[in-house]
C-alpha cells in the first residue's frame, strides 16, 4: 500500500512513524501504529469487549484473535451495512441479533401494509412482530451457517404450525375474529418469507441455479413442440386464443417477480385460470384434467419462465404445507409440477413420434414450422396486424356509439330549440295583447315624430334625440347581424306611399324588443318579431337589454308624448294601457 502511494503522494517521514512515538515505522493497516503498539492497542480494546461479554469471548486463542483482526479489517474497508451484517453474522454473536428488528425495505413495506390492514391491540402487534423477527433471525442464522435448505424449510414449517397453534390457543389472540387470525397466519408467512427472500430463494447451498439452467435449456430445445404434439386442442391460429395464451404466459413469468410463496402461488393460479379460459374457448363442455395438463405444458413450454425450478422448489419448501397440499392453489401447483416433470422426462414416446424424428428435432436438424412459432416470431407483424384489427374494430364500435350519441345530442338540441321557440311563441302570443293600444296612439304621434324623422333622413338632425335613436338602431343592426335591414327595406316597398310609416317602424322595431312597443303598429310589429324568431333565438337575446340602457334618452321625449309613462316593464305597459283606455 505504501509503495503504491509514495510516488504520487509525498508523505512526511514523521507521518510514517508510529503514533505512539516509539520510533518504529507505522503501517496504515495497523491504524498508524507500529506492529507492537498496534497489538497492545488491540489487546486493550479486546479487554474492554471482554468485560461487557465475558461468556462469549473467554475462549479466545491467538488464532481467533487473528481472525478477528481480519474481520476488523474487513469492516474498515467495506463500510456498507450489508457487509457488516454478514461479517458480524460470521462472528457467531447469534444472541445479539434476536432483539433486532428486521431492517429491510421489504419488511418496512410489509409493516406499513400490516398496520394499514389490521387494527389490532398493541400487545397483539408486538407479539406478532416479535415472532416474525424471531423466525427471521433464525432463518438468517441457519443460512449463514450453511445449513441445508431442507432443514431450514422444516424449521419454517414447524414454526408455521407453532404460530398457528399460538394464534388459536393463546389468550392474547382470543378476541380476534377467526378469519382475521387465518389472515394473520398468512401474513406472518408472507412477512418472514419476503424479508428473508435473499437468503432462502435459490440459496448457494443448493444447486437450484443449475437446475434452472438445465430446464431452461431443455425448454429451449423443445421450442418446436406444438399443440399438435401434445395432443391438446389449443387452436394456435385463433386470435382470441393467442391473446389468452399470452395472458397465461405473462402470469407464469410473473412467478419470478413476487416474493412471498402465496403470491407466487397466486400467479400459478392466475396462469392456470387463463389456461382454463383458453380451453373453454377451444372446446365445448367442462374442462377436464385430460385437456388441462397438456395445455399447461404447452404454456410452460412457450413461456420458458426464468428460474422456474428455483421458484417451484422455493414454494415447495417454504409455502405453508397445509395450503400447498389442498385447495385450488395446491391443485394447480401440483399440475405445474407435473408439467415441469413431464418436460424434464419428455421422450419421443410421450409426444407419440418415433425416436429418430425426435432426435432430429432435438438436435435442430429438422425444423417444425408451427403456426405458433410463426405467430410468435416470424409473423410478429401478423400478430400486430390482428391486434390492430381488433383495435380498429373496437374503435369502430366506439365511433358508432359516438355517432348515435351525437344524434341523440342533436335531437336533444333540436328539442331544446323547439322548446325555446315555443316559449318565445307563447311570449309573443302574450305580447300582442299589450301591443294593441299603441296602434291608437300611433294615430296621434306620427304628426310629432314623423317630421323629425324626415328631417333625419334629410340629414338635418334638428331633433337630436331621434337622431340618436336612429343611430342607436343602426348600431344594433350592425352589431348583432340582424336582418332588420331587410325588414326595413321591404317595408317601404310594401308600404308604398306610407313612407313616413315605414320609417317609424324601422326605428321603433328595435325599441320594441325592449318591451317599449309604444309607437309600433300592431301588424308590423308582429311580423318583425316572427322574422327575428326564425333566426337563432340566442342571437336575439342581447338586444332587448341594450335599448333599455339607453332608455333615458327616450324618456326625455316624454314631454312630447304626454300619455306615455317613462318606466319600463310590463307593469308600465299596463298602466300605459290604462291611460290610453282612459283617453278613449
Amino acid at each position: 500500500m505504501n509503495s503504491f502511494k509514495q510516488p504520487t503522494l509525498r508523505i512526511n517521514q514523521a507521518d510514517l512513524m508510529c503514533k505512539n512515538g516509539c520510533g518504529y515505522f507505522s503501517n496504515a493497516d495497523w491504524d498508524g501504529y507500529c506492529s507492537k503498539c498496534h497489538r497492545s492497542a488491540l489487546e486493550k480494546e479486546r479487554q474492554k469487549k471482554l468485560s461487557s461479554k465475558p461468556q462469549k469471548m473467554s475462549g479466545f486463542t491467538k488464532f481467533e484473535e487473528k481472525k478477528r483482526q481480519q474481520t476488523d479489517k474487513k469492516n474498515k474497508l467495506i463500510k456498507t451495512p450489508v457487509f457488516r451484517k454478514t461479517a458480524s453474522g460470521r462472528d457467531s454473536f447469534r444472541s445479539e441479533r434476536q432483539p433486532e428488528a428486521i431492517h429491510n425495505p421489504e419488511a418496512d413495506r410489509l409493516t406499513v401494509e400490516y398496520l394499514k390492514t389490521y387494527v389490532l391491540p398493541e400487545q397483539v402487534n408486538k407479539d406478532f412482530f416479535k415472532k416474525i423477527s424471531y423466525l427471521y433471525s433464525m432463518i438468517v442464522t441457519e443460512m449463514d451457517n450453511n445449513k441445508p435448505i431442507e432443514e431450514v424449510a422444516e424449521l419454517a414449517q414447524k414454526y408455521y404450525i407453532n404460530y398457528s397453534t399460538r394464534l388459536n390457543g393463546h389468550p392474547l389472540y382470543a378476541d380476534i375474529d377467526p378469519n382475521v387470525r387465518a389472515e394473520m397466519l398468512e401474513f406472518f408467512e408472507k412477512f418472514v418469507m419476503s424479508s428473508a427472500y435473499e437468503y432462502i430463494f435459490c440459496p448457494p447451498t443448493t444447486n437450484d441455479e443449475e437446475k434452472d439452467l438445465i430446464i431452461q435449456n431443455r425448454i429451449r430445445k423443445l421450442s418446436w413442440v406444438n399443440a399438435y404434439h401434445l395432443d391438446c386442442c389449443i387452436s394456435e391460429t385463433s386470435m382470441e386464443v393467442r391473446e389468452l395464451v399470452y395472458t397465461a404466459i405473462t402470469d407464469l413469468i410473473g412467478l419470478d417477480s413476487v416474493k412471498a410463496p402465496q403470491e407466487k402461488l397466486a400467479c400459478v393460479v392466475r396462469c392456470c385460470q387463463s389456461v382454463v379460459e383458453i380451453l373453454k374457448s377451444c372446446q365445448e363442455g367442462p374442462v377436464s384434467a385430460d385437456e388441462f395438463l397438456p395445455a399447461l405444458i404447452f404454456v410452460v413450454l412457450k413461456a420458458n419462465p426464468a428460474r422456474l425450478k428455483s421458484n417451484i422448489l422455493y414454494i415447495t419448501r417454504f409455502c405453508n404445507d397445509s395450503r400447498l397440499m389442498q385447495g385450488e392453489p395446491g391443485y394447480y401447483f401440483t399440475n405445474l409440477c407435473c408439467a415441469v416433470s413431464f418436460i424434464e422426462n419428455l421422450t419421443a414416446e410421450s409426444l407419440s413420434m418415433n425416436s429418430e424424428q425426435f432426435t432430429s428435432y432435438m438436435s435442430g436438424d429438422s425444423n417444425v414450422i408451427s403456426t405458433w412459432e410463426s405467430a410468435l416470431f416470424a409473423c410478429e407483424g401478423m400478430h400486430q396486424l390482428t391486434q390492430h384489427l381488433s383495435l380498429m374494430k373496437d374503435l369502430t364500435e366506439r365511433t358508432a356509439t359516438i355517432k348515435s350519441r351525437a344524434e341523440e345530442l342533436r335531437e336533444k338540441m333540436q328539442s331544446l330549440k323547439d322548446e325555446i321557440k315555443s316559449k318565445v311563441a307563447t311570449v309573443i302570443e302574450k305580447n300582442p295583447l299589450e301591443l294593441k293600444p299603441p296602434n291608437e296612439l300611433q294615430l296621434k304621434t306620427p304628426e310629432r315624430t314623423h317630421p323629425a324623422l324626415r328631417e333625419d333622413e334629410g340629414e338635418q338632425a334638428s331633433n337630436f334625440y331621434t337622431y340618436n335613436l336612429q343611430n342607436l338602431s343602426v348600431k344594433i343592426d350592425q352589431k348583432s347581424k340582424f336582418k332588420l335591414d331587410l325588414v326595413a327595406d321591404q317595408k317601404p316597398v310594401e308600404g308604398g306611399s306610407g313612407n313616413s310609416l315605414t320609417l317609424i317602424n324601422y326605428d321603433i322595431d328595435v325599441s320594441d324588443l325592449s318591451n317599449e312597443s309604444d309607437l309600433t303598429p300592431e301588424k308590423r310589429d308582429d311580423r318583425c318579431l316572427l322574422d327575428m324568431k326564425e333566426e337563432s333565438p340566442e342571437a336575439r337575446l342581447p338586444p332587448p337589454l341594450e335599448p333599455t340602457a339607453h332608455y333615458s334618452g327616450f324618456a326625455k321625449q316624454g314631454y312630447q308624448i304626454p300619455s306615455i309613462p317613462c318606466n319600463t316593464g310590463n307593469k308600465n305597459s299596463d298602466t300605459y294601457k290604462n291611460t290610453t283606455n282612459n283617453g278613449n
Binding site: P178, N179, A182, D231, Q262, L265, A266, V269, R270, C272, Q273, V276, L279, P286, V287, S288, A289, D290, F292, L293, P294, S322, R323, L324, M325, Q326, G327, E328, P329, G330, Y331, Y332, T334, C337, C338, S341, F342, N345, E349, S350, S352, R398, I402, R405, E408, L409, K412, M413, L416, E538
Partner: protein, 231 residues
C-alpha cells in the same frame, strides 16, 4: 354446536382412470346436481369442492381430477399425495380401461401410506348392451383391493350421489382413525376461512359510461371537455 354439527371434515379425493372413461363428467354431474340441490359447491375447471352434511358432520370434499393419458401416468403420484379417498373409474364397455384401472390401483397402493377410502366405479351403464366387463368380475376385483364397487352412469345420472355419500360416510369413519393425519378434522362448522383459499382476483378495469352533458350552459359557453375516446 349450532345446528347440532359436531365436526367438519376436509378431505381430498382424487379421481383416477383412463382418458375418456368419464371422470370429469362424473364430477361435473355430481357437483352440478349438488349445486341444484342447494348444497354449496364451486365448479372450477378440473378442481372442485363440495360440501355435504351427513350425520351431524360436514364433509368438505376437494375433488382433484387427474389426466388419464398414458403419457402422464408417471406424474400421477404427485396428485394423490395426501389424498384421503380415490375413485378408480373404468368404462364397462372398454376392457382396456378396466385393465389400466388395475395398474392405477397398484400404483396408488404402492405410493400411499395412510389408509384411504377406495371406490371402483364402472361408468357408462347406460351402454350396457355393449358391456364387456361383467359386474361380477369388477366386484371381485374391487373386493380384492379392499374397495367398494359401484356402477353408475354420468350421462343418465344414475348412482352417482350414492358414490359420494358412501365416500363421505367412510371419511367420517376414517376421521376417527388416529393413524390418518392428512385428513383435517375441525370442531364445529368451520367456514372456508380455515380451508386453503383460492386467491381473489381483482377486476383489472372498471367500466364507465360517459354521458354527454346537455345543458344551456354547455351550449352557450362551448366548454372544452377533455376528449376521452382515444388512447
Amino acid at each position: 354446536m349450532a345446528n347440532g354439527i359436531m365436526k367438519t371434515i376436509v378431505g381430498k379425493l382424487v379421481i383416477l382412470g383412463d382418458g375418456g372413461v368419464g371422470k370429469t363428467s362424473l364430477i361435473t354431474r355430481y357437483t352440478q346436481k349438488a349445486f341444484n340441490l342447494n348444497i354449496s359447491s364451486t365448479i372450477g375447471a378440473s378442481f372442485f369442492t363440495c360440501k355435504t352434511n351427513i350425520d351431524n358432520a360436514i364433509v368438505r370434499l376437494q375433488i382433484w381430477d387427474t389426466a388419464g393419458q398414458e403419457r402422464f401416468k408417471a406424474m400421477t403420484p404427485m396428485f394423490y399425495r395426501n389424498a384421503n379417498a380415490a375413485l378408480l373409474v373404468f368404462d364397462i364397455t372398454c376392457l382396456d380401461s378396466f385393465g389400466n384401472m388395475q395398474t392405477w390401483a397398484q400404483q396408488l397402493k404402492g405410493n400411499v401410506v395412510e389408509p384411504m377410502v377406495l371406490c371402483v366405479i364402472g361408468n357408462k351403464i347406460d351402454l350396457s348392451e355393449n358391456r364387456v366387463v361383467s359386474r361380477e368380475e369388477a366386484l371381485q376385483y374391487a373386493n380384492s383391493i379392499g374397495a367398494q364397487y359401484f356402477e353408475c352412469s354420468a350421462k343418465e345420472d344414475q348412482g352417482i350421489g350414492q358414490v359420494f355419500e358412501t365416500i363421505s360416510r367412510d371419511l367420517i369413519r376414517l376421521s376417527s382413525d388416529s393413524s390418518v393425519k392428512s385428513l383435517k378434522v375441525y370442531e364445529g362448522d368451520v367456514e372456508s376461512a380455515l380451508m386453503a383459499r383460492s386467491t381473489d382476483l381483482e377486476a383489472t378495469d372498471v367500466g364507465r359510461i360517459e354521458e354527454p352533458g346537455i345543458s344551456i350552459d354547455s351550449i352557450a359557453h362551448a366548454k372544452t371537455v377533455p376528449s376521452k375516446c382515444c388512447y
